[in-house]
């Protein structure tokens, strides 16, 4: 059992998730500290996305307890849950932008639903968010089908940040981006974390992201977190998968 961390923004305890007879997560424990960028890695199909989706409540769990912002999500009533949902933002792997709304409407949608503010402020905040993710206001009236892959991710991030959440889940934010774009994206996440004081839970496969963006790394294997700590801890680990991951050909290339 992981030692208790006082200022944990997400506290996951003994989570078990099962699809039919396959146990995907098996008594998993994880803490995410306030203000950190946690990189979450693991082999394909290990259940990284399943854990993310379990925390945000899209996948039912068989056993265990999840606390976000110190609130037990199972015990919370609908109103408290909505309050929690307002305080987090989620970037889905494929962006999940609403295809029949423009970029402007996509970003404004959560703001419009939750806050009663003027159209002027909505537009200004939308431009500010687009600026934060490195996009020009001109893209505001495009539809998601008219965006490139990198732009889709940026717009999706802008939508995730629309309500100034305290916690952001990023599911493979740099997959499908070119290395320069991915590097920019890591930089962006870092900057936003500093300026907005975000906590970031990032599922990733990208070694560069782990080195440049993440404060701490957690590794998923056999349905559990097999290691958690700084990049140095990971490199020092003797676990076979970790050794292969952090000392493989690609890792050496990244470390230079």
């Amino acid at each position: 059992m992981a030692p208790e961390i006082a200022d944990a923004i997400i506290r996951v305890r003994d989570i078990t998730v099962q699809f039919g007879a396959t146990r995907v997560l098996d008594g998993l424990n994880l803490d995410v500290r306030r203000g950190e960028i946690l990189g979450f890695v693991g082999p394909s199909g290990a259940g990284k996305s399943v854990l993310t989706r379990t925390i945000i409540g899209l996948v039912p769990k068989v056993a265990g307890r999840i606390e976000v912002f110190g609130i037990d999500l199972d015990a919370a009533d609908a109103k408290v849950r909505r309050g929690v949902e307002r305080r987090w933002g989620i970037l889905f792997q494929q962006g999940a932008l609403f295809s029949s709304l423009t970029v402007r409407q996509n970003i404004q949608f959560p703001v419009r639903e939750y806050l009663n503010v003027s159209q002027r402020l909505l537009d200004e905040i939308m431009v500010a968010k687009l600026g934060m993710v490195g996009l020009k206001p001109e893209v505001a009236d495009r539809f998601p089908s008219e965006l490139s892959g990198g732009m889709t991710k940026r717009v999706a991030l802008a939508r995730a940040l629309a309500l100034d959440p305290e916690l952001v889940f990023l599911d493979e934010p740099t997959s499908g981006l070119d290395p320069i774009g991915a590097g920019d994206f890591d930089e962006l996440v870092r900057t936003l974390q500093r300026t907005l004081g975000l906590t970031v839970f990032m599922v990733t496969h990208d070694l560069d992201s782990l080195y440049t963006a993440c404060d701490r790394i957690a590794v998923l294997g056999n349905g559990k977190v097999i290691a958690a700590g700084s990049i140095a801890d990971m490199q020092a680990s003797q676990h076979p998968w970790l050794r292969q991951y952090f000392h493989g050909k690609r890792a050496r290339a990244v470390m230079g």
């Binding site: 939750y114 806050l115 200004e124 431009v127 998601p144 100034d164 500093r194 300026t195």
Partner: protein, 377 residues
Amino acid sequence: MNGDPTLERIAQGNGLALCAAGSWTARFAPLLEQMVADAEKLDGSRPNIFIDVSQVSKLDTFGAWLIERLRRSLSQSGVEARIAGLSANYSSLVDEVRRVKAGPVVETSAVTISGMLEQIGRSVAGIGGTLVGLIDMLGAVLAATGRMIIHPRGFRLTSTVHHMEQVCWRAVPIVVLITFLIGCIISQQGIFHFRKFGADIFVVDMLGVLVLREIGVLLVAIMVAGRSGSAYTAELGSMKMREEIDALRTMGFDPIEVLILPRMLALVLALPILAFLGAMAALYGGGLVAWLYGGVDPEAFLLRLRDAISIDHFIVGIIKAPVMAAVIGIVACVEGLAVQGSAESLGQHTTSSVVKGIFFVIVMDGVFAIFFASIGM
């Protein structure tokens, strides 16, 4: 200190300090906007204004932007406005929003009468395009059929059988049930009204001719347009959205051959079968009602039916079925391939597939009626 946000005005010599306090966050955005709007109305009587944010306990993009907006609008009205007391934590956020260029955002035009008229005009002009699209698809399908006849090895039997199962076999229960009920209703209504003239038995003539020539095939075609035409459009449309059709094309496959031909063939084979089953079910239902409600016993019914109808009636009905199937299939495929990137577009094209499919089925039925009348069938 984490309470409601405030913006106090404190006079300082010939200047003014606006002291912001509390949490300037999204939660309080409507209140903040109001306060900032009030403060913006300060006239230029005071040459310099400090916006003191040292008492702000929490700040996010909304708060930072509203402070920045206040500073800008005061500066514009000729006041020297400065932000003071910014903590190190929040200065980067304020720097970030300072870069925002808040030009007037171009609004998409509202609904106007000329816009509506333009929409109507475009729709009417679009009818021509629709017809061309249908003829285009018909040509492409016929060309693909021709290629299949020359090179039968490229024919996709598995796919065709799969679609046959979907559009024919799985449609049988609902088609039979509905046509059975329609047969019952026609028979009941016929008996009810014919009885007034003592002409009960003629209900058999009416039922036979109506079901075999018109209702059987027309009703089944409408059901198939709603059931399978919509499914084709949705399938092809979502494949188009996910670039699966482009992928096929780049691998050197013709989407017409791979996707559309098996679907078309399945539909063209399915509709005559369904129309036949439907006609039988309707006759059965009509006979049952004639017996139980009208007192026409089955033997008399069959005897009368044999006199009333000829094979011509049946042929007239069944010959229409494959043509209607082709029309439904072509409309569905054209609409499916016309789907654009959004979920809304998929919905629109699926709707329009069913509507146009049914429309063309009825038009075809009318054309056939004229044709058969003029050749005396």
